[in-house]
Subunit: 327 residues, 2 copies
């Protein structure tokens, strides 16, 4: 039986991935320091004898033999990472380092969850993998953006120097059930506000665009990517003149924030919420949209879940949680 | 008596800075792991009772109480940092982290040596401090470029979160006596080749430009910057809408590599060397030139040593070393 480690395994995406790996027959260990992850996300998984949980901060080294390591650990929303910026940077860099050391020692394959944030406020649109980004090194988002950039660098050097089989995905905005309700991200914000009949807060004029990927689509891409034989991956990226295997994953459908707000209000018809405008925070990117040509070619993958369908499932999840917590 | 710590104190710039601090009446501790630094660079300093040397890798924490910490430790030439890319990234990030932790614990001021490499292959020319750079996260130079970017981020967050008094300089190409003779940098390369009557190797067609700052000019800027009262610095950068104190230091005089080669051959008239062209390595920046308006305004500083004069002093140093080592 294949053994997988999922760092950040009690988080939003980590818990979805752990569920999928169990479904695929793996023995799964989730490691999480529970800074933003939650035991509630994995309570059903814990009933499975092939699942185990380890509370640990990957900034410090860890042991264990695994066939595959999925490195998802990091606070990913500005509210969380700006509360502890130094720890965020260290989680990105030293967490990646410890994952790579484990892989180097045991021969595990690594799939590292990078992010569209490494493109910063992009000057190229949509973003292709070869784009180098437009990131501020000294701003309030830098702890995450630069930490994630540096993690990509470490991963690349472990691949070049030690031959570690590491694959990078740059994840664009992703949403779905088990998102953190208070993480300040636009979809969870809007849904929670609409369910509570509070005004939906738009920062700026609402014309900034985002793309929204449903969590199941991302998990599909990650599993397909990890399952690809290394030789195929190397050949593919070699032919593209890309030095390391890095794939954008996201939904290229582009929506303005204002459109998203209206769509959510349409799907929650009982809501009495209106829309409220607030000033745009510093360093907020204006546009972000993935070019997913490479993932399509290599994996035969593209997102399948339409926004309205994904939103409905997410709204159902929050409806239950909000009712729970408001009781 | 004020106490200063210089990380990388046995290196090219660290040894010059240590000398200057001794001249200015400081008690100086140089810390170095001697990966690229050399005891030869500090043999005269060791005769001074106010100077001490500590062999230590700043990737690991260290102790001591200092008034000022100058963080210069890092392999800075591609030959060296590409030989140990993982260690380079860790020196940048964990080294900075340990310096900042020391400063946080003791109230030391920190001057961090960042680099023009954080601009990558720049799309803005000359480079101003607000420019975000064009850096590849997954290339063979990334260990240094991204490590240094991430160090800036950590410094900024220690300033914002813990109030550490940290000042950043982005150092452009700097040369002078005590440069490493085999570090593959263009000035040391050309001088050593010319003295040995070997052909001067130009990578690419020689039309790429660089600016060359003489080491004494840089040390002037660093000392002026560290001596500025914090309130003045904060006010200055506030008015410029820059979130943290960061200054370019470099010589804005721009020379093509081909011109530099000819100038060095002119200054070593006995040389029998010719010029040889080689292919350009990947990620090599095409142009690099500092905008030093901010340093001029804040410090009243600008470079004073003309290229020919700096080259003469550097040639004199290498002449002695080459004769020594060729005997």
């Amino acid at each position: 039986m294949k053994k997988a480690l999922v760092t950040g395994g009690a988080g939003f995406l980590g818990s979805h991935l752990s569920r999928r790996l169990l479904d695929d027959g793996y023995e799964v260990t989730a490691v999480d320091n529970l800074y933003t992850g939650s035991m509630k996300n994995i309570d059903r998984l814990l009933e499975n004898p092939r699942f185990s949980f380890l509370q640990h901060d990957i900034v410090r080294p860890f042991d264990g033999e695994y066939d595959e390591i999925y490195n998802l650990a990091c606070p990913a929303s500005p509210i969380h990472y700006q509360n502890s910026p130094v720890e965020t940077t260290l989680t990105c860099v030293m967490g990646m380092h410890n994952v790579l050391e484990r892989a180097r020692a045991t021969g595990a394959k690594v799939l590292h969850a990078s992010t569209s944030e490494i493109y910063g406020d992009p000057m190229v649109h949509p973003q292709v993998e070869a784009y180098r980004g437009n990131v501020n090194t000294v701003g309030i988002r830098s702890c995450y953006d630069e930490g994630k950039r540096c993690a990509e660098t470490l991963a690349s050097d472990y691949r070049r120097v030690y031959g570690v089989d590491v694959r990078l995905v740059r994840i664009f905005n992703t949403y779905g059930p088990r998102m953190h309700p208070n993480d300040g991200r636009v979809i969870s914000n809007f849904i929670v506000q609409a369910l509570r009949n509070e005004d939906l807060t738009i920062y700026g004029d609402g014309s900034q665009t985002r793309s929204f990927q449903y969590s199941d689509d991302l998990i599909d891409a990650m599993r397909l990517y990890m399952d690809k034989p290394r030789a195929e991956i190397d050949k593919f990226f070699d032919e593209k003149n890309l030095e390391v295997p890095v794939l954008n994953t996201g939904n290229p459908g582009e929506y303005t924030i204002a459109t998203l707000a209206k769509e959510i209000l349409r799907l929650i018809p009982e809501s009495k919420s209106k829309i409220a405008m607030r000033p745009l925070p510093s360093d907020d990117p204006r546009r972000r949209k993935p070019d997913i040509t490479l993932a399509k070619e290599l994996l035969g993958w593209e997102p399948r879940v339409p926004l309205a369908e994904g939103l409905e499932k997410t709204i159902a999840y929050f409806r239950e949680r909000i009712l729970d917590s408001d009781e």
